[in-house]
């Protein structure tokens, strides 16, 4: 009997209840697809959270060894299906890097335009579903309302609303249609003021702050150690953005664009005077900061899209034609990471001289972002688990590939 007193769990909690092992997912409203978390809980307190992945494993890497580089584009769509343009871009760039193929100036701006527009759409979903995770349904529909308009724009340009296969090695499947830029302009004009609404509903909402501030704190060292990237990394205060610090093949896209990396420096985010202040409860690296970084990145992307449109208009020539299906890849290997909405999305390509790669490797951002779960969910409440997972903004299609 006395042995129970020595049990560390006995002294921790108010009433010692029996430990419970519960499965959150793979069918659970807030696990963003088919993530399964095995939670070991003591009452409401989670003592251990183990993610189990692989429910959406589609062997994308194996498939890549059997298809030519252009045929692989639709498979990249299905990795991060919320940011398919960025996935297409990542693959297109790595193929071009291997081929040392440069797209024309106009194509470059088109790519920035698409990538940033998709980043807005993706962050809107992240914001909406995060609200959903915290029990607030309305921001979700607001976010989808705006996202619909982006999808309309994409549909007009490539015919698809989710899996675009638009940006291809060599350029894009087509140029923008007539009047597209005006529509995009109109959308951006409409989006800017409603971001204020989202801040009211979520960012500066007292309940939201109480649910997210100080929850799931990820220190900068740990964030780097776990290889997290994107808003998760920058939410921990690490000033690292591949658009600025990445491979020259990628940063070349953003050459002469004006933007600031969204990260807290000296207690301030760039241009944060226009947005709700950081609440006193928030700790750098917590769920609130991750969310806030995403919200600010939407604004940043709006500006980038505006710049891209301006440059696209000014640029002469075409936007690049897709490479031939049978275009042989030179012998060699190339690795390229791009800054996708969820973080650093890396593609690695080994070619043996055929059009079909010898090996394709995909380094997924959500994969690394998710791996911190057991670290940050330890000792939190059950209700905090969706709050943390939601703030990581994972897409299972990308994790399982």
């Amino acid at each position: 009997m006395a042995s129970h007193l020595g049990d560390p769990r006995v002294v921790e909690f108010d009433v010692r209840t029996d430990e419970m092992l519960i499965n959150m997912g793979p069918q659970h409203p807030s696990t963003h697809g088919v993530l399964r978390l095995a939670l070991r809980t003591d009452g409401e307190i989670v003592s251990e959270a183990t993610p189990h992945i692989g429910y959406l494993h589609r062997c994308a890497e194996k498939i890549g060894e059997n298809l030519s580089h252009r045929q692989y584009i639709p498979y990249t769509d299905r990795m991060d299906y919320l940011a398919a343009m960025n996935m297409n871009l990542g693959w297109a760039l790595v193929v071009e890097k291997l081929l040392k193929h440069e797209v024309p100036e106009r194509g470059r701006h088109l790519r920035v335009l698409m990538a940033e527009l998709n980043r807005i759409a993706s962050h809107l979903v992240a914001m909406g579903t995060y609200g959903l995770d915290l029990g607030s349904f309305t921001p979700f529909l607001y976010a989808f309302r705006e996202r619909e308009r982006i999808l309309d724009l994409f549909e007009e340009v490539c015919g698809a609303r989710l899996t675009y296969s638009y940006i291809t090695p060599g350029g894009a499947t087509g140029d923008l249609t007539e009047g597209w830029l005006e529509k995009c302009e109109a959308f951006l004009d409409q989006l800017a003021p409603v971001i204020e609404e989202y801040h009211t509903l979520l960012t500066s909402n007292a309940v939201f702050i109480r649910r997210t501030a100080g929850i799931g704190v990820l220190s900068a060292e740990m964030a780097i150690d776990y290889g997290t990237s994107g808003p998760v990394l920058r939410g921990s205060g690490v000033d690292y953005d591949l658009r600025r610090d990445g491979d020259p093949w990628y940063t070349g896209l953003y050459r002469d664009y004006k933007y600031e990396v969204i990260v807290q420096k000296d207690g301030h985010y760039p241009k944060d005077r226009d947005y709700p202040p950081v609440p006193a409860e928030a700790v750098l690296g917590d769920s609130w900061h991750r969310f806030y970084v995403r919200m600010l990145e939407v604004v940043q992307s709006v500006e980038l899209v505006r710049q891209a449109m301006e440059r696209y208009r000014a640029a002469k020539g075409d936007c690049g034609a897709p490479l031939k299906l049978t275009q042989r890849l030179p012998k060699g290997e190339a690795y390229l990471e791009t800054e996708a909405p969820r973080g650093q999305m890396g593609f690695f390509l080994v070619a043996d001289g055929n059009a079909i790669p010898w090996r394709v490797r995909v380094r997924s951002s959500s994969f690394c972002n998710l791996s911190i779960t057991h670290e940050v969910c330890r000792g939190c409440l059950i209700a905090d688990v969706p709050a943390v997972i939601g703030s990581l903004d994972i897409v299972m299609g990308e994790i399982d590939r």
């Binding site: 007193l5 020595g6 006995v10 002294v11 909690f13 108010d14 010692r16 209840t17």
Partner: protein, 205 residues
């Protein structure tokens, strides 16, 4: 007696609630599952609140539902949940114990019932009940006043000897309040975090 006009509603409701109360009390006794026991206890106490309503003690009945059923029993069920080992705990009692208990119980019941029926005053119905309207048994405010120390329900009392003993329930009320406060603090203290347990353990080493 079953004329249309003379329908004794009190009796009908009494039998209804009495059967429910007794039935669920026995169900509590004979149930082997602790959660079901709690459920039957809820129904039993709820039905007895119905009996209180019938006697005109509406405030007591409401309090019974609120404090007893809504508070105490929820707490009890909470305790059941916290301490349930397997999901549905069964409490088997050896049959030998049952037989002994039932013999003793029926003896006790027979004694109590015979006592209840022996006193002539208790088996006599109130002759002028018809004259008492629902408004006459309205007692909520008088009870409140009684707790504050003023017995407005005994205004017609003229016997000075009796008057001395009914100056209200202010003192017991205060005592109970303090008692409850102590209980609350004590219960919180007992069920609080067990950090001290570890300290004692270390001290022993």
């Amino acid at each position: 007696m079953m004329t249309l006009a003379g329908m004794d509603w009190h009796a009908i409701y009494f039998w209804l609630f009495a059967l429910l109360t007794c039935g669920f009390a026995l169900a509590v006794l004979f149930s082997a599952n602790v959660v079901r026991m709690a459920f039957y206890l809820v129904l039993c106490l709820g039905a007895s609140a119905g009996l209180f309503f019938l006697t005109g003690a509406e405030f007591v009945a409401a309090m019974q539902l609120m404090i007893y059923v809504g508070g105490t029993l929820v707490l009890l069920v909470f305790g059941v949940m916290l301490t349930a080992h397997s999901r549905f705990v069964s409490l088997r009692t050896p049959s030998g114990e049952w037989i002994l208990a039932l013999i003793a119980g029926s003896a006790l019941l027979a004694l109590l019932l015979s006592a209840a029926l022996k006193v002539p005053d208790w088996v006599k119905a109130n002759p002028d009940r018809a004259a008492i309207s629902a408004a006459d048994v309205e007692a909520t405010t008088p009870i409140g006043m009684g707790f504050a120390g003023v017995r407005v329900d005994k205004l017609s009392q003229t016997d000075p000897q009796l008057l001395g003993g009914m100056s209200g329930y202010l003192l017991p009320f205060l005592i109970v309040s303090i008692h409850l406060l102590v209980v609350l603090i004590g219960a919180a203290y007992m069920a609080r975090a067990k950090r001290r347990a570890a300290a004692v353990d270390e001290g022993a080493v």
